[in-house]
């Protein structure tokens, strides 16, 4: 099947209004939230229904063409990077809220529905959807499912995988599969658990059943300023050690504070580090624990404590934090956003190490992180116009991941492996580990048609016997350009 035939068949599947073939228009989709990698897809289709999505996947199967599914394209690891010879399936038009079931605390949505939209649907009834990635105003539930998205509040409430109870999938062979639903503990393998976070490599979710939660009776938010990250880190340890599980504990260092101030003026104190601690739950409980948290922060050397007086002030505290990535653009022409995880207790040591490595390379690193669960987001600042800086920044960014691994952590806490980090996955997992994961891939997608070339560096082909490793054909073809 040549490109013209493929286009004709795809147009039959999605209708003439659901296909994009002009190079100018295709360019819109050349990258996701990680703009360093760009590939113009062969064709873009925009199905509006499960049947259309299924039709597209079937055409891909018949044509032997790979596909990449994409939600809003906000991912930060190149997971939705298109393939030059592949079909990009954009799910943004599948955005119906299929069902709101308050008595059972479930909402069923199509994958293009935005994360925040779920909460908006149920907020008038006193409910919300817990996973809250910083991009929640624009990211889609389908993308959240692919990436197992987290957010600031996952310390207490868990990640996307803890909130998905049902999935309708279009498998890479074009067949449908329905997993779970509203009832707990469905018999059989937990394929929802395998699918959520598989970064588009196991098929396409066309309907998602999510759990919604009752809004807590009380929410209290504290902004605490410290001289440095050591003191702030001590406060975090103190809070966790006291048996308190806050809804969120976020830390920003001096450089991140400076950036946030320059961009969105959250009026943070002038400090070496700030913590945002949020507690929620039944009012009497929150009150007692909040007092404990204040005392712990003071004992750890807090220089200033501010309590959000109302929702408006709380929103301002959070605005500085949630816009931190973009805000760094105010203080540096270029920067890398990194995502690594360490055991929380290693925080002070790892921060010192990062700071030392940055100094060695003459670079600055702004640190923003989910301190409660040890998820670091170092932002490596550089100026591409200065010769050699970009390369040094890239090296430093990678070195930070290796530090995370040396401390028993992970190369990604929430942004995913995608295209960006697949070469680092073998540093976290052995060849046997990766081959075993690959068995899942082979069960779902034996022909490696769904988002090939992502997550795994050089996957063994399904059916291949263990032996010398080969370069995957997708990589050999050099389907991605690295800028």
């Amino acid at each position: 099947m040549d490109r013209a035939q493929l286009i004709r068949r795809l147009a039959e599947a999605v209708g003439p209004g659901g296909i994009i073939t002009e190079r100018n228009q295709l360019r819109t989709y050349e990258c996701d939230g990680l703009a360093a990698f760009r590939v113009i897809p062969s064709v873009v289709v925009l199905p509006e229904t499960t049947e259309q999505a299924q039709g597209v996947v079937r055409v891909c199967r018949e044509a032997g063409v790979p596909f990449v599914a994409r939600g809003s394209g906000t991912g930060l690891s190149g997971g939705a990077l298109p393939l030059a010879d592949g079909v990009l399936i954009v799910l943004a038009r599948m955005r119906r809220v299929v069902e709101v079931d308050l008595p059972n605390q479930r909402v069923v949505v199509e994958p293009g529905v935005l994360n925040l939209q779920v909460t908006k649907e149920v907020a008038p009834h006193g409910y919300y959807y817990a996973p809250d990635p910083s991009s929640q105003q624009v990211c889609s539930i389908g993308g959240n499912v692919a990436e197992n998205s987290g957010g600031a509040h996952c310390l207490k409430y868990g990640f996307t995988t803890n909130h998905v109870t049902g999935l309708e999938l279009v498998l890479p062979d074009g067949e449908l599969a329905h997993l779970g639903g509203k009832a707990p503990d469905p018999p059989g393998y937990d394929l929802i658990g395998a699918f959520v976070g598989s970064e588009g490599t196991l098929g396409i979710a066309t309907k998602v059943t999510v759990r919604i939660l009752r809004k807590p009776e009380a929410v209290r938010t504290l902004l605490a300023a410290f001289d440095g990250t050591d003191d702030a880190g001590e406060a975090v340890s103190g809070v966790i050690g006291a048996g308190i599980v806050p809804a969120a504990i976020e830390m920003m260092d001096a450089l991140a504070i400076e950036a946030a101030e320059a961009a969105v003026h959250p009026n943070y104190p002038d400090a070496g580090a700030v913590l945002i601690v949020e507690l929620d739950g039944p009012a009497p409980e929150v009150e007692v624990q909040f007092n404990q948290v204040e005392a712990i922060c003071r004992d750890s050397g807090a220089t200033e404590l501010r309590v959000a007086a109302d929702d408006e002030e709380r929103a301002l505290f959070w605005k500085g934090r949630k816009s931190a990535f973009a805000a760094v653009g105010r203080i540096s022409p270029d920067y890398y956003v990194q995502d690594g995880v360490i055991p929380r207790t290693a925080l002070p040591e790892v921060l010192r190490e990062i700071s030392r490595m940055a100094a060695e390379r003459g670079l600055r690193v702004a640190n923003v992180f989910h301190a409660g669960d040890g998820n670091l987001h170092p932002l490596v600042l550089y100026d591409a116009a200065v010769e050699g800086q970009e390369q040094r920044a890239e090296e430093l960014s990678a070195e930070i991941l290796f530090v995370c691994l040396r401390h028993g952590g992970s190369i990604t806490g929430e942004h995913g492996v995608g295209f960006d980090k697949k070469q680092y996955l073998p540093r976290q997992f052995s060849a046997d580990d990766l081959d075993t994961m690959q068995l899942v891939r082979c069960a779902f997608d034996p022909d490696s048609r769904s988002n090939p070339g992502k997550v795994f560096p050089t996957p063994r082909l399904c059916g291949e016997r263990p032996g010398p490793r080969r370069v995957h054909p997708v990589e050999q073809a050099g389907l991605a350009e690295v800028f």
Partner: protein, 443 residues
């Protein structure tokens, strides 16, 4: 030809007590390391032997009878707690560690693994609990195994040792094999090591009890719906209804920091229309106390109603009765009253007695159907299952006399995902070594 274990691996000939649903194994292997376990599996697969993994054996009656089981792979010697990082609230242990032993160890740091399946009292091991996806009353607040397991080491039938996840709670690198193995009942491989996130123990507790009128499951439904729709945060919500003609009980517990639990218990009592004095009960001194002494026997605080019920012994021991079946029914909360009636009526029309206990907030209900012959038991299970499937739920048989089991699929249908599940099994265990026939669709 007699099968010989790799050198150095402890083993003994199997006895009748090692039989799995009437299938008599030849020997019991007790590897002391993950590498030894890998050697056992590699050799067993090469020799065409079939293997059933076993922890304490408390849930060995779950699943369909295996189509063969020459070797029992016991985790008895894989019993080390490998790492307890108190400050990070995580613990890594070998699969053969009993849950109660783990609770005692982490309890010293004022922490707990928030799982309390009834089988814990029977010595259930971590590996067995993960393999069976066993849960208890804490599931309402803390979730189930899938919400707490953050890392896993498995051994495949060909001897491959593989890891997934890690020891940090937040981690999206690679596929989540931990969830895939959770509830897989030993059909994909041996679960050899597990890493869990822990929770702090809560210092204070209070309870509220609601008496339910005979034959009025709608009352339970309304109460559960009122609690779930409120801003209360119960730690447990248990239902106990030994006989439809008698009263049932809903028991709520609230755990946290004083005065929170007592306030919440009072609010729950008010919400449920209970008068002063008949609702909340505070139990000072019973809480584990994060800085105090661990509770008796070092176990978690026991509010696991179903674990304490003498009429549900099979939940904690895994021993099947000769006259009854034990089933697990699951559905969405709005279906609770209907599901209770389904179970009662399916039992009633076949002349059986039905007793219920479980977690109506989820909804997961365990029921014993007793007092009849095999025809009545099979008939009641099939009828109850048909009705629960109609409600979007499921009914799984957890224990039954062998004669009954052989006439039933203990799992029931799993829908259009079955071909995919078969493909997963074929990839992980192409020779059908691991617990063949025990899982859904004969996997």
């Amino acid at each position: 030809m007699a099968f010989e274990l790799p050198g150095g691996v402890a083993s003994r000939p199997a006895t009748e007590a090692d039989a799995v649903d009437g299938v008599q194994p030849e020997l019991v292997a007790e590897p002391a390391t993950v590498e030894e376990a890998a050697a056992v599996l590699r050799e067993a697969t090469a020799a065409g032997k079939r293997v059933v993994c076993r922890g304490a054996g408390t849930k060995l009656g779950w699943g369909n009878p295996p189509t063969g089981a020459e070797i029992i792979l016991s985790s008895a010697r894989l019993d080390r707690i490998l790492e307890h990082a108190e400050g990070d609230l995580i613990v890594k242990a070998e699969a053969g560690v009993p849950l109660e032993a783990l609770q005692a160890a982490v309890g010293e740091a004022g922490q707990l693994l928030a799982l309390n399946p009834p089988s814990a009292g029977g010595g259930a091991t971590l590996g067995g609990i993960v393999a069976a996806n066993a849960s208890g009353s804490w599931r309402l607040r803390y979730g189930t195994v899938r919400d707490l397991l953050i890392g896993i080491t498995v051994v495949l039938a060909d001897g491959t040792i593989a890891h997934a996840g890690g020891k940090v709670v937040k981690n999206v690198a690679g596929y989540d094999l931990g969830k895939l193995f959770t509830g897989s009942l030993g059909t994909l491989g041996l679960i050899a090591e597990v890493t869990f996130r822990l929770h702090p123990r809560t210092p204070d507790r209070a309870t509220t009890r609601l008496r339910l009128e005979p034959d009025r499951p709608e009352q339970a439904g309304a109460a559960v719906s009122a609690i779930l729709g409120s801003q209360l945060v119960p730690t447990t919500l248990d239902l106990h209804w030994p006989d439809p003609a008698g009263h049932g009980t809903l028991l709520l517990s609230f755990e946290g920091t004083a005065p929170g639990p007592v306030d919440q218990a009072k609010a729950a009592a008010a919400l449920l229309g209970l008068g002063e004095g008949e609702g909340p009960g505070e139990r000072p001194g019973e809480g584990p106390g994060k800085n105090g002494t661990p509770p008796p026997e070092g176990g978690p605080p026991d509010f696991n109603l179903s674990a304490r019920e003498p009429w549900l012994p099979r939940l904690s021991t895994g021993k099947a009765s000769e006259t009854g079946v034990l089933v697990k029914a699951a559905c969405a909360p709005s279906e609770l009253p209907g599901a209770i009636r389904d179970l009662w009526e399916a039992a009633g029309t076949h002349g059986l007695r039905a007793g219920l206990a479980g977690q109506p907030g989820s909804v997961v209900l365990y029921a014993t159907l007793d007092g009849g012959g095999a025809d009545a038991l099979v008939g009641a299970v099939e009828e109850a299952r048909k009705r629960l499937l109609g409600r979007g739920g499921s009914l799984v048989v957890l224990g039954a006399p062998l004669e009954v089991k052989r006439r039933l699929d203990v799992w029931g249908p799993v829908g259009d995902a079955l071909p995919l599940m078969r493909r997963v099994k074929e990839r992980f265990d192409p020779n059908g070594t691991m617990s063949p026939g025990r899982f859904v669709g004969g996997i």
